[in-house]
């Protein structure tokens, strides 16, 4: 189905199942241990061997020698895989560095060996016996040292490296009110609960790979490229994923090593990447150094806005696109955004939840707060004043839906914003300095081709098959709701099968594009199935109603069981997109409100309450969408207050590479969260009239926390994370 004109009325609009709260249909499996994750397939793989990954002990250089003798002789060892005996290896489209290092080492903890043994413990013990001698090379590990001189780099291929509208420099110079500030965000790691994990099993030249991955087809393709295996010989299965956050978008070392290990051992091999390797072996969100300049007239009209950001990556990597939202979020006739990309020899950077917008808004939305204060305007009023309903670069191009102002105003009313004291450091509750902050939320919606197969069985059960993944987000449930709505059956008459490369290729999970596109693909397949039913029954396909397990046309009606009595009916289709997303700007909007307390003695910041108001098209399932948003808000708190991969600039690694030293929020940090979804249907997005929402919940949260802290203390912080050491000495004297 090609979606190239705005959606008209369709069966989804009935909203008898879609749009209604529904508990996860996979919930009981997950809470009872019945959902088998990548590392847990004892029924299919009765006698696996175990792999243990060895990571490089240097950041850059060369393996001079590797002595495997002692490890090979250790009890239980079956095989050891290294780059030397892996054969010629390609590199997947989505990988920057090689997944197996040696003899050249590209980054710290790059995988250099897999030890395969009868038991996990034997593999781990033998791995400790491998002796490696390295020659270290000098590397560049310090973003600050190279950020300002790094070359400009566009976010997308073929686009000029700078985005310009009007004449920013002249307008900024002429602006009566100005802001010119710098902000930094550190490197972040995904820190998902389930580690990267795979089981590989060969059967002749056919490979089955159970793996924890967000993008089944990308990863299957990259695995074929990397190892020179025909793609059609690979079955990739990822039905349950215990968190990914962008880390599991790509083929990673666990999968490649499991496949090579299984080949060498002539046995199925299972590999779970050890937690201490995860921060440096895999991808991370790169640190940024950002500069924002805003010029305005005294009435608060923005006349000039510039956002520049530098980040680093390994050679041939990409930038953290922290400036892109600034092209669209506020009005202003003169505009500039630019990114610089430095070559760093740290582990490779790539997508982490809401890449670009998450760190970009942590800077922009603090700058907006600072500018509002300079203008003596309420921060909400300043944002409202600079709202735009069109793409500032191409004013004929409108947003398909843009309810930013309503999000801000509705949120202000619900949160009690009028009780905020605009003068900082005025509100005290015992030892706590109390403040409120706000930030706009913005994230683009992306269209992705997405396919599905739908089958109506003789029992009246509708089975959906798609390679879409459920990374804890609720995909199973919203797909079931979509099929139930389309076929007129209850949710418990729908069976959803996900995450297999045997199923039609879907959007996959990432970039908040999963829910809307994957359900639109299911919609397309269901439309085809409805037509097939009409054809079989001799009904008019233009006049069909499916409800309560029956299909009705004109005066005739048949139960779905009867319709399928002559044999299962199956249909496959995919949603594909025309250029509506070029005619219209498809984006999602929200507003985040935060109240914090800052301990006047120690400077420790603790959340008191949070509110997110989101406008993101039709919300397919308010329960799972809310879970997505509160999780994202929690991540926003982490990035605001504690998350930081600490770079050791001498040795070139993230040194706090475990969950004791890389802190993420715990329950005690998050006392109260509220989420409100505005009514919105976006007929330009897809037939579901839905857009992404998961990452919107993160975008802007960090800045809202920062702004609340400033309101509490009067001390402005611009370098994340906003830990107590950065401001407590500037708080009121106490001793």
């Amino acid at each position: 189905m090609k979606f190239d004109t705005p959606a008209t009325t369709n069966p989804i609009d009935r909203m008898t199942v879609v749009g209604r709260a529904h508990s996860r249909i996979d919930g009981p499996l997950k809470t009872t241990g019945g959902a088998a994750y990548a590392y847990e397939h004892p029924a299919e793989v009765a006698d696996p061997a175990y792999g243990y990954v060895v990571g490089a002990g240097i950041a850059k250089g060369r393996i001079r020698s590797m002595n495997l003798d002692e490890a090979k002789a250790a009890p239980g060892v079956i095989a050891i895989v290294t780059a030397a005996d892996a054969g010629k290896m390609g590199k997947g489209k989505f990988n920057t560095a090689k997944l197996i290092g040696g003899p050249d080492i590209d980054h710290y903890h790059q995988a250099i060996a897999l030890v395969v043994a009868e038991t996990f413990e034997q593999a781990r013990a033998a791995a400790g016996l491998i002796r490696v001698d390295y020659t270290r090379s000098k590397g560049q590990f310090d973003l600050a040292a190279v950020a300002d001189t790094a070359p400009l780099k566009g976010g997308e291929p073929g686009k000029p490296p700078e985005y310009r509208v009007g004449d920013f420099e002249q307008a900024f110079a002429a602006a009566p009110v100005k802001l010119d500030q710098r902000y930094t965000t550190p490197d972040h790691t995904h820190a998902m609960m389930e580690p990267f994990a795979s089981i590989a099993a060969w059967n002749g030249d056919a490979l089955t790979l159970w793996t924890s991955n967000q993008m089944v087809d990308w990863t299957r393709t990259d695995l074929a490229t990397t190892l020179g295996i025909p793609k059609d010989k690979i079955t990739l299965l990822s039905p349950y994923v215990g968190g990914g956050f962008g880390g599991k978008l790509f083929l990673r070392s666990d999968a490649v090593l499991a496949v090579l290990g299984a080949r060498a051992a002539k046995r199925a091999v299972k590999v779970a990447l050890q937690r201490p390797l995860m921060a440096n072996n895999t991808t991370h969100r790169p640190a940024t150094r950002q500069r924002i300049r805003i010029g305005a007239t005294p009435d608060g009209t923005i006349t000039a806005i510039a956002h520049e950001s530098s980040s680093g990556d390994l050679p041939n990597g990409g930038p953290e696109a922290a400036v892109l939202q600034t092209q669209l979020l506020y009005a202003g006739a003169n505009r500039l955004t630019a990114m610089r990309l430095a070559v760093l020899d740290l582990p490779e950077g790539n997508a982490m939840r809401a890449p670009g917008e998450a760190p970009g808004l942590m800077a922009l939305e603090v700058a907006m707060d600072e500018m509002a204060e300079t203008l003596k305007m309420d921060p909400i009023a300043f944002r409202v004043k600079n709202d735009t309903q069109v793409d500032p670069k191409t004013p004929t191009r409108r947003f398909s839906q843009r309810q930013l102002v309503r999000c801000l105003e509705e949120g202000a009313q619900r949160f009690g914003w009028s009780r905020r004291n605009a003068t900082p450091a005025q509100v005290r509750d015992g030892r706590w300095l109390v403040g409120m902050g706000v930030a706009s939320a913005f994230r683009n919606h992306m269209n992705m081709t997405s396919g599905a197969r739908v089958r109506l069985g003789r029992d009246g059960v509708v089975t959906v098959e798609t390679d879409m993944t459920d990374i804890g987000t609720g995909s199973y449930t919203i797909i079931a709701q979509t099929a139930a709505e389309m076929m007129g059956v209850p949710v418990d008459s729908v069976v959803v099968k996900l995450g297999s490369s045997a199923f039609p290729v879907s959007a996959g999970s990432g970039g908040q594009f999963g829910a809307a596109n994957a359900t639109a693909g299911v919609y397309a397949a269901c439309v085809k199935l409805r037509q097939a039913l009409a054809t079989r029954l001799g009904y008019d396909p233009a006049d069909l109603a499916l409800a309560d397990g029956k299909i009705t046309s004109g005066g005739r009606s048949t139960s779905l069981e009867q319709a399928a009595a002559a044999g299962d009916l199956s249909a496959e289709d995919k949603i594909e997109f025309g250029d509506l997303d070029k005619t219209w700007q498809l984006s999602t909007f929200g507003a985040h409100f935060v109240e914090v307390g800052v301990d006047v003695y120690t400077g420790a910041t603790r959340l008191r309450r949070m509110l997110a108001v989101c406008a993101a098209g039709r919300i397919i399932n308010p329960t799972s969408a809310r879970s997505q948003v509160i999780g994202a808000m929690t991540m926003g708190v982490g990035s605001a207050l504690m998350e930081e991969l600490a770079v050791d600039k001498r040795f070139g690694l993230f040194i706090n590479h475990d969950l004791a030293s890389y802190e993420v929020p715990v329950h005690a940090d998050i006392p109260h969260q509220e989420v409100v979804f505005l009514d919105e249907v976006d007929d330009k997005a897809n037939p579901m009239k839905a857009k992404g929402v998961g990452e919107l919940g993160l975008c802007g949260v960090g800045a809202a926390v920062a702004n609340a802290m400033y309101n509490a203390t009067g001390v402005r912080l611009r370098d994340y994370p906003l830990t107590l050491d950065k401001h407590f000495e500037r708080l009121p004297a106490v001793a």
């Binding site: 002990g57 240097i58 009890p75 413990e121 781990r124 013990a125 400790g128 201490p276 030892r431 301990d599 003695y601 120690t602 400077g603 420790a604 603790r606 207050l641 504690m642 600490a646 770079v647 050791d648 001498r650 040795f651 040194i655 706090n656 590479h657 475990d658 004791a660 030293s661 802190e663 929020p665 715990v666 329950h667 005690a668 940090d669 994370p721 830990t723 107590l724 050491d725 407590f728 000495e729 106490v734 001793a735």
Partner: protein, 316 residues
């Protein structure tokens, strides 16, 4: 993890002899720290002597009105003991400020005293570490040291003792009781129990090989208001940047020890005497001669402010 042998000791003497007689042997109780370190080969014992069957799991009153806490009393049970809560509130508060409920259910009193540093360079076996591999150097010096020590450290090691419970025991003047392989018993004041690193940061405590902790005794209650103020980046399940254990009397005198700053719970009795003069006077004396890094210099003024909060609460 290296292969190791294992035995369950039947009595304290046998346990002490089993460890003293074998180089590389270690005791194991709750294992909440040791097993994690073994998995990443930071600890590589050749033999484990499990002491869980030795008893030592009761808290009894001593003749002079104090408490004797068995070495195997869990953190959970120690924190919850009615006598501890009533008379030694600083100890309960310190324990519940640490780790998680699950870990406190498993962690023992003796094991908590013996937990090893959380320096990230100690945890990464590719990095030089004099504590893990004597003579290899210290990668933490000149590296990421935000969490590390500001006083009592050396040119060989700037790690801290990371615990909470021991900081409270330090203000209570607890005594660590041990038995060794010959059956000899020692009573070690907690002030002397943890070593300053000097040039032997591999040795955390003054215990001799095979010397087994059997109990920790608390002197009779000293009254006063009890505080444990733990400053950290998140609200729970994090090591202290700085902690303050304090007992403050109605007249403003008292005792104070600091955690997260040194190789041992840091208490300077001469600084205690300055409590009536306020927090700044106390910390100026307690941290005299401190050698912070650029990353962790904030711990000194933070300690002052954390103590100020305690003094303010004591007056309230």
């Amino acid at each position: 993890m290296k292969a190791f042998t294992y035995e369950r000791a039947k009595d304290a003497g046998a346990a002490a002899r089993a460890v003293a007689g074998r180089p590389g042997a270690k005791f194991i109780a709750g294992g909440t720290n040791l097993l994690d370190l073994m998995k990443i080969e930071v600890e590589t014992p050749t033999h484990l002597v499990d002491v869980q069957d030795l008893g030592f799991d009761t808290i009894v009153k001593t003749a002079d009105g104090g408490l004797r806490i068995g070495a195997l009393v869990t953190n959970t049970n120690l924190a919850a003991d009615a006598r501890v809560r009533r008379d030694y509130g600083v100890l309960t508060r310190a324990i519940v400020a640490g780790a998680s409920g699950q870990l406190r259910n498993k962690a023992s009193t003796a094991g908590n005293l013996l937990q090893r540093t959380r320096c990230p360079y100690f945890y990464d076996t590719n990095m030089a570490c004099n504590k893990r591999r004597p003579g290899s150097g210290c990668a933490a010096i000149g590296g990421y040291s935000r969490q590390l020590g500001v006083i009592g450290v050396s040119t060989s090691c700037i790690a801290t003792f990371p615990g909470d419970m021991a900081v409270a025991m330090r203000v209570l003047d607890a005594v660590v009781e041990t038995v060794d392989a010959t059956g000899a018993r020692r009573a070690i004041p907690i002030a002397d129990f943890h070593r300053l690193w000097g040039d032997r940061p591999d040795l955390d405590t003054v215990l001799k090989p095979g010397e087994l902790i059997t109990a920790v005794t608390l002197p009779r209650p000293i009254g006063g208001k009890h505080f444990y103020e733990k400053v950290r980046d998140r609200a729970s399940y994090a090591y202290a940047l700085v902690s303050v254990a304090a007992v403050i009397q109605p007249d403003g005198t008292g005792r104070v020890a600091f955690g997260g700053v040194a190789p041992r719970p840091w208490r300077v009795e001469a600084a205690d005497a300055l409590l009536p003069q306020g927090a700044a006077a106390v910390t100026a004396r307690a941290f005299r001669g401190a050698t912070p890094t650029e990353d962790n210099g904030f711990k000194l003024p933070l300690a002052t402010r954390a103590l100020a909060s305690v003094i303010a609460q004591a007056k309230a």
